[in-house]
């Protein structure tokens, strides 16, 4: 029963429950977190609309893009949460206890992934209401959602890493602002072909664009290209390979 591995699982579950308990106490935070991307979706779907260079139904192009963008914006949510946690005294108690150290980060990951999964459900629901339809198989639909969550997982660990490096809430704001241009320098809203040459190239290189394109393909909508599936799998894995180990190492070595 008391192998290190089973404690790692038990401690991670305890820390996940902690995050869930926070939600239960402050449900408005969760609701706001879900309403914001829906708002963006509706804004770009109706208010701004168009979609430069897109052939076919714009809503079928937009919804996958907005799903990917929502996953990307998760980075700042994770960074903010980790930064706030690190600046709380309770972290010292966790670290002076015989618990498995990484459980704090596992709890964070589990909670953020749950939140993102909920966001995907809500957004596809709203997308359905405004006319989006997946044209592929159920397997392809689930595969697309899996790709989005994989991308979110990579963003999550970048967020944790940045929080470790920055350490202070003030620096979160800088990242919150910077994530916007990076998020929009993608094909989330418009075809790179419609942009000036150099910008189109940057946009095509953006890992988020690969995810969006592969998801569009799996949904069977406009803007999808089958060739991007591998990139949509490999890019997040590469980002994880870069950011996951130092984030875990930094957390273990944390001392203020």
């Amino acid at each position: 029963m008391s192998t290190p591995m089973s404690w790692a699982v038990a401690d991670s579950w305890t820390m996940t429950r902690r995050e869930l308990a926070h939600w239960a106490r402050q449900p408005t935070q969760i609701v706001v977190g879900l309403v914001f991307p829906v708002m963006l979706l509706l804004m770009f779907g109706f208010l701004i609309g168009g979609g430069k260079g897109v052939e076919g139904e714009y809503v079928d192009y937009l919804v996958p893009g907005m799903l990917a963008l929502t996953m990307a914006f998760g980075l700042e949510a994770t960074m903010l949460a980790v930064t706030q946690d690190l600046n709380k005294g309770v972290i010292d108690r966790f670290r002076s206890m015989p618990m498995v150290n990484g459980a704090v980060l596992v709890g964070r990951s589990a909670a953020d992934m749950l939140q993102s999964a909920a966001a995907l459900v809500v957004m596809t629901g709203v997308g359905y209401v405004i006319g989006w339809r997946p044209h592929g198989s159920t397997g392809a639909l689930l595969g697309a959602l899996g790709l989005l969550l994989l991308f979110r997982f990579a963003m999550l660990w970048i967020g944790i890493h940045l929080a470790m490096v920055a350490g202070k809430p003030e620096l979160v704001q800088a990242v919150q602002i910077l994530v916007w241009p990076v998020g929009f320098l993608s094909n989330a809203l418009a075809e790179p072909g419609s942009m000036p040459g150099w910008l189109g190239t940057v946009v095509e290189w953006n890992p988020m664009s690969h995810t969006a394109t592969a998801v569009r393909d799996l949904f069977g909508g406009p803007g999808g290209e089958p060739g991007h599936l591998w990139a949509a799998v490999l890019w997040p894995l590469a980002l994880l390979a870069v950011f996951f180990p130092p984030a875990v190492r930094k957390f273990a070595a944390l001392s203020r």
Partner: protein, 325 residues
């Protein structure tokens, strides 16, 4: 049986400043030991080193018989820590906090629940229900924090300035809780800026300054080294400071800005009568004359020598740090 805490020749550097500069400390099992020192003396750094929260650059740190670096988990199983800042989850309730910490101490779900209930009862927090810790008073929060440090009946309990920031009532609450622990066999290491607090709670006291121990002993031994009471005379005319200093007992110090002469005295009442008479005869007009206990400032002046004193950092402590006899 080995000592509960053994710290030998520890050094820890932050930038170009040594937070610990050859700190040595030995604490016998079952005793309460006070680390007394001003802000920035290295007390918190020492506690963080002993509780596995930071690594020292040099030296040996052993707690409950285990090396904090090589056997951190063994140490963590045997210690409790009450830090300077509340180390509980402010968003959750008291019960939720204790139950969570119990699970993380690997008590198992059922024992964690039972233990949480017991501790809330013991620290007078049983009626708090679901209320978030954020809404607790300072004293309540500190008691919950203390309860969280005691989940596993630790062998060694670390209290880092447990009453800083509390009002007198909160301080009394925490003192009461600490006293009730002593006698149960727990070793307690307590840091404080207040001589009075160390005096009230600790069996032995180590005075820490600039990252090392400058004096150690029981409260009585340390007080004896301080030389007891002092007389303060504030003169009306600053030009008469020199005269006043000569009239007072040996060892008088002069503070020109405050027009104050201060000197150690042996017998309070005799010294007061004598001073009043001598000043009157010499025609020195006094604005104020008082006999008082030494302040912590003077403890440090006495222990570290006048050349090393850094008054700017320590001035704020004088008002609250009088020795209680």
């Amino acid at each position: 049986m080995t000592d509960a805490i053994i710290v030998e020749g520890t050094r820890k550097r932050y930038g170009d400043k040594w937070a610990l500069d050859g700190l040595d400390l030995t604490v016998a099992r079952g005793t309460v030991h006070g680390l007394l020192g001003p802000n920035g003396a290295g007390k918190t750094t020492a506690v963080r080193a002993m509780t596995t929260l930071l690594r020292v650059d040099e030296g040996r740190v052993e707690v409950a018989g285990y090396d904090v670096r090589r056997q951190a988990d063994e140490v963590r199983r045997r210690i409790g820590l009450l830090g300077q800042h509340a180390a509980v989850d402010e968003e959750l309730g008291g019960w939720q906090n204790l139950e969570m910490f119990g699970r993380l101490h690997h008590l198992g779900a059922r024992r964690a629940r039972v233990r949480a209930g017991e501790l809330l009862e013991r620290f007078g927090l049983a009626g708090t229900g679901r209320k978030a810790v954020r809404q607790y008073s300072g004293g309540m929060r500190r008691r919950l924090d203390l309860a969280a440090s005691l989940i596993t009946d630790p062998e060694v309990l670390f209290l880092d300035e447990p009453t800083t920031g509390l009002d007198p009532r909160g301080r009394a609450e925490v003192w009461g809780a600490v006293r009730s622990l002593v006698g149960g066999g727990t070793t307690v290491l307590l840091t404080t800026q207040y001589l009075e607090e160390a005096d009230q709670l600790a069996d032995r006291i180590s005075v820490v300054d600039r990252g090392r121990v400058v004096a150690e002993g029981t409260a009585d031994e340390l007080k004896a080294r301080l030389g007891g009471d002092r007389i303060d005379v504030v003169v009306r005319d600053g030009a008469q400071l020199g005269v006043a200093a000569r009239l007072l007992p040996d060892g008088a110090t002069v503070d020109k800005d405050r027009r104050l002469v201060s000197a150690p005295v042996a017998d309070r009442m005799a010294a007061l009568t004598e001073a009043v008479r001598a000043l009157q005869e010499a025609g020195v007009e006094a604005e104020d004359i008082a006999v008082r206990r030494p302040t912590l400032d003077e403890v440090f002046l006495h222990l570290t020598g006048p050349g090393q004193k850094d008054t700017a950092e320590r001035g704020h402590m004088a008002d609250r740090s009088e020795v209680t006899a």
